[in-house]
Structures are given as C-alpha cells and as structure tokens.
C-alpha cells in the first residue's frame, strides 16, 4: 500500500475544487495512470484542452514514470506565456 500526495493548480485546481489531495494506491502506478484515475473521478477535467505535464517531487517527469510511496505528484496544465508563436509580453 502506497500513499501519494497530489497537487492541483489553475484550471485543474478549479475543476477538482481542491489544491491538494492524497490517494492510496494498491499497486505500481505511473503518473499518467494516476491522472487517468483523477479524470475519471472528475469528468469536467476531460474538457481541458492541451495536455497536462507531470511533476514528481517537484521535477518534470515522463508520463510513464512510476510513483513511489510518499511521492508528491503534480499535474501541470499549460503554463502562462510560453510559445513564441503566441508571445504575450
């Protein structure tokens, strides 16, 4: 049995209506599988456009990265600004 801490931000936070949560996981899980689980819990997340990125213990990780007990997992919606196609300032 593993316990992980989840962090939600911006559009994700608003749809989940929480800034953080904990989940207990029965077996080995990737960050992406965890996100799929959260999306099933909160169907309104399905309307988000643009893929989220994943952070594990405050570092960007690949979607296939496995979570460990006591990890902090964050689902990172698109950050502000960014693309030079779309320079905002």
């Amino acid at each position: 049995m593993m316990r992980v801490r989840l962090r939600f931000f911006a559009a994700v936070r608003e749809r989940v209506r929480a800034a953080e949560a904990t989940r207990e996981l029965a077996g080995p899980t990737t960050v992406e599988a965890l996100w799929d689980q959260i999306r099933r819990e909160y169907p309104s997340l399905g309307e988000l456009r643009g893929a989220v990125a994943f952070a594990l213990n405050q570092e960007y990780v690949d979607s296939k990265t496995m979570v460990q007990d006591n990890d902090e997992v964050a689902f990172i919606p698109p950050v502000s600004g960014g693309s030079s196609r779309h320079q905002d300032v």
């Binding site: 962090r7 931000f9 911006a10 559009a11 936070r13 608003e14 988000l48 456009r49 643009g50 893929a51 990125a53 952070a55 405050q58 570092e59 960007y60 964050a74 990172i76 919606p77 698109p78 950050v79 502000s80 600004g81 960014g82 693309s83 030079s84 196609r85 779309h86 905002d88 300032v89």
Partner: protein, 146 residues
C-alpha cells in the same frame, strides 16, 4: 535570489542582488499587465504558482544563464495573486562583465521561464476570464473556463 511573492516586485532589490565588482552590465526585464490582449479589455491578471517547484526551476534557469552566457549573477522574482494593469508580474536581473552576456542571459531567462516554470495566469477581462496557455509541447491554445 529566486522568489515567488505575493506583494509588488521591487526591481532595485534584484539589481542589488546581482551587483558584482566584476560586472560592468546589468540587464533587467519586467513583465507588466497590459490593458488589452488578443482584442479583450483586460481588467486584471491573477497568477498562481506551484511555488516550491517554480523556485527550483528558476534557480536552474539562473544556473544555465551563468553557464551558457557567462553571466555573473541572476535574480528572478515572480508575483502571485492579483496584478493590476501596469504592475509587474515578473522581474529578472542579470549581471555580466559585458552587455552582450547580460542581455543574452536576461532574454534567455524570461523565455525559459515562460516555457517551463509552473506559474499560471488567469486573465480577467470585460466579459469573462480565461487561463492563458500554452506550454512547451502543447497546442498553442488557451483553456477556456468561462
């Protein structure tokens, strides 16, 4: 100096933090709230951060600016919460021996910050509100929540 703060930014503090006896140039950047964006009349912006990770990514960007451009020191501060028209949401200061490196390092820092630092901007405009994207790798769109 790498900070996420809830109060107005003080550029002079960042400039003081990067001053060095061997630096002849300091370039800075301030990102400020514009009254109009993409045809919308903006009333205010609201920033939200993943602060622990944002500071970590800012520190990494600062380190890269030193290594890639030979900058002497880098300071980055980002404000969260409501930022009114004309106020600054982000401030960067980069010192270097010469101005080429100071400008290059400062430009690199703001570009990279906007690509990867986990800070989000909600634009409040006349008629609605919207989270502004996009991020590296994602489509160049916005996430509408109105």
């Amino acid at each position: 100096m790498f900070e996420v703060v809830e109060h107005p930014l003080d550029l002079a503090r960042l400039v003081a933090a990067v001053g060095r006896a061997d630096a002849g140039a300091i370039a800075t950047f301030l990102g400020t709230t514009r009254e109009h964006n993409a045809g919308r009349r903006v009333t205010r912006l609201e920033y939200e951060a993943y602060p622990e990770m944002a500071i970590r990514e800012m520190r990494r960007i600062g380190q890269q600016a030193l290594e890639r451009f030979g900058a002497k020191a880098v300071a980055i501060a980002h404000r969260v919460g409501v930022v009114e028209i004309g106020e600054a949401s982000v401030a960067i200061a980069v010192s270097a021996a010469h101005r080429d490196a100071a400008f290059a390092g400062c430009r690199f820092a703001i570009d990279r910050l906007k690509e990867i630092v986990p800070i989000w901007k909600k634009e409040h405009y006349v008629g609605g509100e919207i989270w502004i994207g996009p991020q590296r790798g994602g489509p160049p769109d916005s996430i509408s929540i109105t």
